[in-house]
């Protein structure tokens, strides 16, 4: 594999191509999206503004296209201003959404019947259950999409895998969000939390898949690195899903139990930050090690 690696000391002289940076765009997207969703949650919680139910339903359903539009404007359209854009981003997102619709949701809902047995389990059982059911299904399907659409034909640099994994997570979570909001018709602020939750779950597992693909493809890592990363992705999705129910439902009191969207929102942001931080650390570390290994093989004259 090492024979295939070709770093360029001077990109302009050796024909390197400009590529859109992924991490900054991904963080910008999440920050803007989180800020908008937070405003919705705060308005719902503190101002207790309630609109006509039909308007609220349409507004809740419109949140998903809004998130997709943000992704298009921040991550996809700027690609086409570069010399070598990542052309399959939209394709990966669309195929992921279709996969969620055709296989992911029916498998989790009708075959695994998650809602019938998992919410009643203990925390540990819930983490295990969500990881082995929804986690494995979602992570597996996203991996299959990435494997057949981008791995290895669309991988030029490490950040490509991150960009495509994020696209897959966007598409997959968009369909799940629309399905949940359509079926459960939650209030606007709760719909905002659902949207962020779906994105956090899918992004967490997607980023670990990307990390596995990067290590396997660019570093020719040992056999188990890719499967272990996929397993960690499923576990990360499972942990967030398991915590979601507990955080969202308040304690049962004499006045009944109320939803806690703000607390859930904070948990989801923390989970996203932790996942992004961990994956970015491992990503940079791996890139730095490979760069150092390559540089150490160079003669002083750069030949």
């Amino acid at each position: 594999m090492s024979s295939g690696i070709r770093f360029q000391s001077n990109p302009e002289q050796q024909g390197a191509y400009s590529i859109l940076p992924v991490w900054r765009r991904l963080v910008s997207l999440l920050l803007v999206l989180a800020a908008v969703l937070l405003i919705i949650v705060l308005v719902g919680q503190f101002l207790e503004v309630r609109f006509d139910p039909r308007f609220e339903r349409v507004a809740a359903l419109a949140l998903t296209p809004f998130a997709l539009l943000l992704w298009l404007f921040i991550s996809v359209l700027p690609e086409y201003r570069t010399e070598r854009p990542r052309r399959r981003l939209i394709g990966v997102a669309v195929v992921s959404a279709l996969t969620a619709s055709a296989i992911g949701l029916p498998l989790a809902q009708d075959f695994m019947r998650i809602s019938e047995w998992l919410p009643l389990q203990s925390v540990f059982q819930r983490v295990l259950g969500y990881s082995l059911s929804a986690g494995v299904i979602d992570t597996g399907l996203k991996f299959v999409v990435l494997r057949y659409l981008i791995y290895p034909q669309a991988l030029r640099v490490r950040s490509d895998a991150i960009a495509y994994a994020a696209a897959s997570a966007m598409g997959y979570s968009a369909f799940l969000s629309v399905a949940f909001i359509w079926r459960l018709t939650p209030a606007w602020d709760i719909a905002a939390v659902y949207l962020l939750a779906n994105l956090a779950v899918q992004l967490a597992s997607g980023l670990f898949i990307a990390l596995g693909i990067i290590e396997s493809y660019f570093s020719d890592a040992p056999l188990l690195v890719l499967p272990v990363n996929i397993a960690v992705g499923a576990l990360a999705g499972g942990v967030i899903s398991a915590l979601l129910g507990g955080f969202l439902s308040g304690p049962l009191t004499t006045a009944g139990n109320t939803a806690r969207p703000l607390l859930t929102f904070a948990m989801l942001l923390a989970a996203l930050a932790l996942t992004l931080g961990t994956v970015y650390f491992l990503y940079s570390n791996s890139e730095r090690r490979e760069r150092e290994a390559y540089m150490s093989g160079w003669a002083p004259d750069g030949i």
Partner: protein
């Protein structure tokens, strides 16, 4: 715009990478099988109900709610289901020497037709019990509405099956009701319940 270190786009996968992908699929398949196993063990987990006074011992799904206060010996309900909760209700009634099973079922139908909306008897059939004796079953349907008029929601079509057996001078009635859309699937739970019911 940033320049990143590039790599040849025409790199083929090495055998190690191919094996790694195959191993990933294998791991996902194992994980999925473990998930199915966990689902089955959670769905099939049973609790034991015993009532020495009435002479009943039964196994019921552990996640279902057991109730004993009502016009029945006991009943178990699947509270996790949205809409009409699937229910198995066991009750007894004293019978005279010349009372037939059909008399009791007709009496039940008369009572229900006054309390349940659109109650319709669908048919009668013999029902074999685990001890090789035969009970009589009556299938019916009705429309269930939420008890609170302020709750939003559509009415549900419910299918029911009564299994009646006369023993030691009393009629034992196992009444099973589930939403029509999941009735066939939930019948498996009833069969399992009857298999483990001792009276």
């Amino acid at each position: 715009m940033e320049f990143e270190t590039g790599r040849s786009p025409a790199i083929q996968m090495t055998p190690r990478q191919r094996w790694s992908i195959a191993l990933s699929y294998l791991l996902l398949a194992i994980g999925f099988a473990l998930g199915v196993n966990q689902r089955d063990s959670a769905l099939n987990q049973a609790s034991i109900y015993s009532n020495l006074e009435a002479g009943f011992t039964a196994s019921y799904p552990a996640r279902w709610l057991l109730e004993e206060s009502g016009a029945y010996v006991f009943r178990v309900r699947d509270m996790s289901h949205r809409g009409f909760n699937t229910v198995i209700e066991v009750s007894t009634a004293p019978v005279g020497a010349d009372t037939s099973e059909r008399n009791i079922l007709d009496q039940l139908s008369l009572q229900r037709s006054q309390t349940l909306t659109d109650y319709t008897v669908l048919g009668y059939a013999p029902y074999p019990l685990p001890d090789d004796s035969r009970a009589v079953s009556m299938s019916y349907s009705f429309v269930a509405r939420d008890s609170s008029p302020f709750q939003e929601g559509l009415s549900a079509v419910v299918n029911g099956l009564d299994i009646l057996s006369i023993r030691r001078g009393q009629a034992v009635i196992v009444a099973f009701r589930a939403e029509a859309s999941i009735y066939r699937r939930e019948l498996e739970t009833l069969r399992w319940f009857i298999q483990n019911l001792e009276f």
